[in-house]
Amino acid sequence: MNNGERPSLGSFEQLVLTSILRLGEGAYGVTIHAEIEGLAGRPIKLGAAYSTLDRVEDKGLVRSWLADPTQKRGGRSKRYYRLTVAGENALKESAATSRRILRVVDHSWG
């Protein structure tokens, strides 16, 4: 995030950040992808989740780290994700916008 600008979130980025928020300590590739599919209500490509995770990390909205390898998964490490303060703020802002949109839609269409 440059020059203190507030990044605006795309709809898929909102899904990714919401998934990380919901998963808390257990947010890594497989669980985030499953959570995104649940939230979106449709199948999502695993690769799409990875590329968005990279993008939101580059924007400074999440941070990631490799955990120690365990016996599961062929002894390979998991990359865990957590929201940064900037990520939390961006998600709050985008949720507030969604609420305003929802109010207008409810009002217009009943």
Partner: protein, 368 residues
């Protein structure tokens, strides 16, 4: 929602797993291979998912490793060096030089992008730059071999293939410029320890020494590159029209002055390790600032000849001969080239500015 997640304890076959790991970029191999293996249910599904996931990962890694302006600048360097902007009356056969050069340039850029995606480090090291250039050469040679085979079998005209001498000369030029571009990116490097509250004078001197040796290396490479540019420009000016030769020889004279400056005053002065931290930071800051100005200037200077070539070969003939598409292409190329130089320069200046800001924070902390 996680209740729907069916995780399997089976593991993919060793050979298949090894193949998938080989396809994954090293920077994300560990976690992605682990995730894919965790989702394993059958060999075909595992391999299919790996193949579908791979393009996303490759594009993401390319985006992280390089930038649009940097790629554009590399495209200009390769295309111009291989003669893509040469006047149409110099082209041989029915195929314009720009078309045959475009194929070689695209092949070279794809190789560079793949090298970026499969990088093993985020740092722009000399070894990494050398491998990048080897990949570029191999890709260009492969593209020419394919064109040669197609021409030999009569499917395309032989003028699609670039002449060997032109290709060789152009590649020497392009490789030199790309080497400078790729090794000059990381002049200061990351120094997270500067943010530690106990950063001391000895650490700072060590970091300054690393910066100093990088500048020495950068200046040496730039001197070699400028010598090559001068030699090529001298040969070109001897064969050029008087007006062009006049401009060319002026450029050579000014470039020699720049080289003299680089060799005499371009160096970073040594640090007195006995100095207190305040003096060390002041000197470090001053040198970083000086390098920031030098970088901004040198990159414009490198492309003076290319700007001139775009004016002479594309823009002016396009206007004079009423070929407006060519003239518009000339203006677009000039603007794009200027944009890429500004952006790449900005990326480097931001790195140096970040370092200066880190030094300022040390001063602020020590004053508290």
């Amino acid at each position: 929602m996680l209740r729907d997640l069916q995780l399997n304890n089976e593991a993919p076959p060793v050979r298949l797993d090894r193949m998938v790991r080989g396809l994954l970029p090293p920077m994300v191999r560990e976690e992605v291979a682990g995730d894919l293996s965790e989702r394993f249910s059958s060999s075909s599904r595992y391999f299919g998912e790996a193949l579908v996931t791979l393009p996303y990962i490759l594009f993401s890694q390319m985006r992280r490793a390089t930038s649009g302006p940097m790629l554009l600048l590399e495209a200009f360097i390769v295309f111009a060096s291989l003669g893509g902007f040469q006047p149409t009356d110099l082209t041989r056969g029915p195929v314009p030089a720009s078309a045959s050069t475009a194929i070689a340039t695209i092949a070279g850029l794809v190789a560079l992008l793949l090298r970026d995606a499969y990088r093993t480090t985020n740092r722009w090291t000399v070894v990494r730059a050398l491998y990048d250039l080897v990949a570029l050469v191999l890709a260009i040679m492969a593209s020419q071999a394919v064109l040669m085979a197609l021409a030999h079998s009569g499917l395309i005209d032989s003028s699609w293939r670039m002449p060997g001498l032109w290709l060789f000369g152009g590649m020497v030029f392009a490789l030199t410029m790309l080497f400078i571009l790729r090794t000059g990116v990381d002049l200061v490097g990351a120094a997270p320890w500067l943010e530690c509250p106990d950063a001391n004078a000895a650490d700072l001197c060590k970091d300054y020494a690393a910066f100093r040796s990088k500048v020495v290396f950068k200046n040496s490479v730039e001197t070699i590159a400028l010598t090559l540019l001068v030699a090529v420009a001298f040969w070109f000016d001897l064969h050029a029209r008087p007006v062009v030769a006049g401009i060319g020889f002026t450029w050579i004279g000014l470039t020699l002055l720049l080289m003299t400056y680089n060799l005499t005053r371009g160096r970073v002065s040594p640090m007195d390790e006995q100095s207190d931290i305040g003096k060390i930071i002041t000197q470090y800051r001053k040198e970083l600032d000086r390098q920031r100005r030098a970088i901004r200037f040198v990159w414009w200077w490198y492309f003076v000849a290319l700007f001139a070539g775009l004016f002479i070969n594309l823009l002016i003939p396009g206007i004079i001969q009423g070929r407006y598409v060519q003239a518009i292409a000339g203006v677009a190329c000039i603007l794009l080239l200027a944009y890429s130089i500004i952006k790449v320069n900005k990326q480097r200046r931001v790195q140096l500015a970040d370092k200066i800001a880190a030094l300022d924070r040390i001063v602020a902390r020590s004053g508290q």
